[in-house]
């Protein structure tokens, strides 16, 4: 660019900048800026507000979606639980060390095995303590949750199962769906003995329904000590959180 042109460009930019900065703090003083200018400033603010409204709605829609999962899994309704997931063939579910199942049909088959509706079978699965982050474009989101589960077969020893989720969500035609659900069961224990004496290893892949992919993260549950990584940085410092190696 020619030196004079550069000089001119800088002048124009600074001139516009000055006008905006001078205008903002006195928007209500019609002697300084015109009604039309005040209205333009308001109109510009409205677009930002619309996005804010939508983010508020997104978070609650994701909470509702995730809680529908709690209720359908508790009810043993694998078919309906699978319909909470994205229609994409990449939609996935992964529990414990059981491997990854891809697509709605396989998700349904997996849930029908591990959380069936059958007399005497219990899997009381509330989802708790959500930390949700929606992407700025409002198309994807992530959520950390935890489940504390009362499980078992009537007449046998029951189970306590506990651990966090790191899930991903996607908005399809305006409706949030689960893109991937990953439940890290960091505690599995005998009801009779409790976790100090009756800890069990995280569930292994099903022999009669092998997963589409092996576990994406290999870990051992309690008494081993494992921290499922947080999808988010620290809410105040903005820095990643984890253990020192």
């Amino acid at each position: 660019m020619h030196r004079a042109q550069r000089f001119l460009a800088a002048l124009v930019v600074s001139g516009l900048g000055t006008a905006t900065q001078a205008g903002d703090p006195v928007v209500t003083d019609s002697k300084v800026i015109s009604e039309e200018r005040r209205l333009s400033l308001l109109e510009a603010r409205l677009s930002g507000l619309r996005l804010q409204v939508e983010r508020l709605e997104d978070r609650r829609a994701i909470e509702r979606l995730q809680q529908a999962y709690s209720h359908y899994v508790t009810a043993g309704r694998a078919h309906d639980a699978a319909r909470l997931f994205s229609r994409s063939p990449d939609a996935s579910i992964e529990w414990a060390q059981q491997g990854v199942y891809l697509g709605r049909a396989r998700i349904e088959a997996f849930l029908a095995k591990v959380a069936p509706s059958a007399p005497g079978v219990l899997h009381e699965t509330p989802t708790l303590q959500g930390v949700i982050h929606v992407a700025n474009d409002g198309r994807t989101a992530q959520g950390r949750w935890r489940s504390l589960v009362m499980a078992g077969v009537h007449g046998e020893d029951g189970s306590w199962i506990e651990g966090p989720y790191e899930n991903e969500y996607v908005k399809e035609d305006g409706v949030w769906r689960i893109r991937s659900l990953h439940w890290f069961t960091t505690v599995e224990a005998s009801y009779d003995k409790g976790w100090a004496k009756g800890a069990r290893q995280a569930a292994a892949p099903l022999k009669d329904l092998p997963p589409d992919r092996p576990p994406s993260v290999v870990y051992q549950s309690f008494p081993s000590y494992f921290l499922p990584p947080y999808h988010y940085t620290h809410p105040v410092t903005g820095k990643p959180v984890g253990w020192d190696p």
Binding site: V53, A68, R83, E124, T127, H154, G158, W195, A196, V241
Partner: protein, 455 residues
Amino acid sequence: MKPIKFLAALAFATTAPLLPAQSPQPDLGPRLARAAERVAAMDQRADRVADYDELKNLQQIYGYYVDKALWDQVVDLFADDGSLEIGFNGVYVGKDAIRKYLYSLTGGKPGLLKGQLNNHPQFSPYITIGADGRSAKARWQQWIYDGIHGAGSGGNWGAGTFENEYVKEGGVWKLRKLQFFQRFYAPYEGGWTRAAPESAYRYGKSKVKPSRPSSVSYAPYPTSFEPPFHDDRPEQAGALLSAGDTRPVAPAAGRSVSELEAAVRKLELKLDRLQAVDAVETLEAAYGFYVDKSLPDAISALFAQNSTLEILGRGVFIGLDRNYEYMRRLSAPAAGAMFNHMPLQPVVHVSPDGQSAQVRARLLVMFGATGRAAQWGDGTYENTFIRENGVWKFQTLMGTMGMYTDYDQGWAKKPAPMMSYFPGYPPDMPTSLKYEPYPANFVTPFHYKNPVSGQ
């Protein structure tokens, strides 16, 4: 560029923004109306978000009142024509019948019996607001851990599902129909898989005659029964709240630019306060996930500079350094150590100016030292939050002790005594509340009034 052209351009560029508006005012009417309509539409969407939050609070507040058998407070949450149906005990219609029934559960008067634990956590809200914005339905999970100290058993575990209806009257959400489907109610000894099916019928049993017999005939676990969903459309479970709103947008306010500005400012504050709900819920949950894993740096960084920390009977610790040292002393990451901290059921209220917030939450603790000890613990948080330089932080954290017990015994058999000062790490101030944990009956003061009665 020729110098003369350059100078002309320069003159234009520097003077144009400073020229007074000479042209006659254009008619802003249509633009103003369009903007006002947009504001009104957003306002309606924001109100629906607020409805969702209020409905969530309402059900969770119900749970905290039931915990302490504050039956008059529970009754006040109902609409006049409200009904209550718990487990297999028939339907009680109207406030008088509901009150009589609830009193009968604690010997004919409100308040817990001696040595009674009656905790009823509310989980998994699945809320559907009616198209008209004046009615709502919700499915919730409710767990129960209760018992009478010294009665022999360690207590009971229970679980089931609510399918409830709500009504908005005079701008306030109320319970219209509470229906709890009991899945099981099992003695602590042996738990749900060993319990006889009949054990479920013990729950909520009363000599007070119901207004109507049970509305649904079903059997508890181990029979497989699932209460029907009020909104059984999994493909739409993640739809936005506004998608279910069929109301026309209210006539727009703002005939002048000044009026529109005022409406926008009001909307901005409304959104700010709703975002605050999300921010403090996130902080509360993030705190639990960090305590789980013994991360003292991350925990103390959630707090404001002059914040205070008061947990169990350990006294008040002031400031970030003391907070950090406290957390560092609690636990360290190690194989065989479990320190699960679950802050649940957050009832959130944001101040009118959107600069501070209060949260009541239930704490559930799973403590473990492998081969040696396992414990259940519970408590109540009453925390406050402030916005410091635009960032939300904990201002005060106060966690009162409910019950802690050895896993092998159960709370009603062997509740632990108050956990007092750390040896060698005294607090900056003594405890602010004098109380004893379970089996004493202590009600952690509520930061809020009854949302319906205002009492």
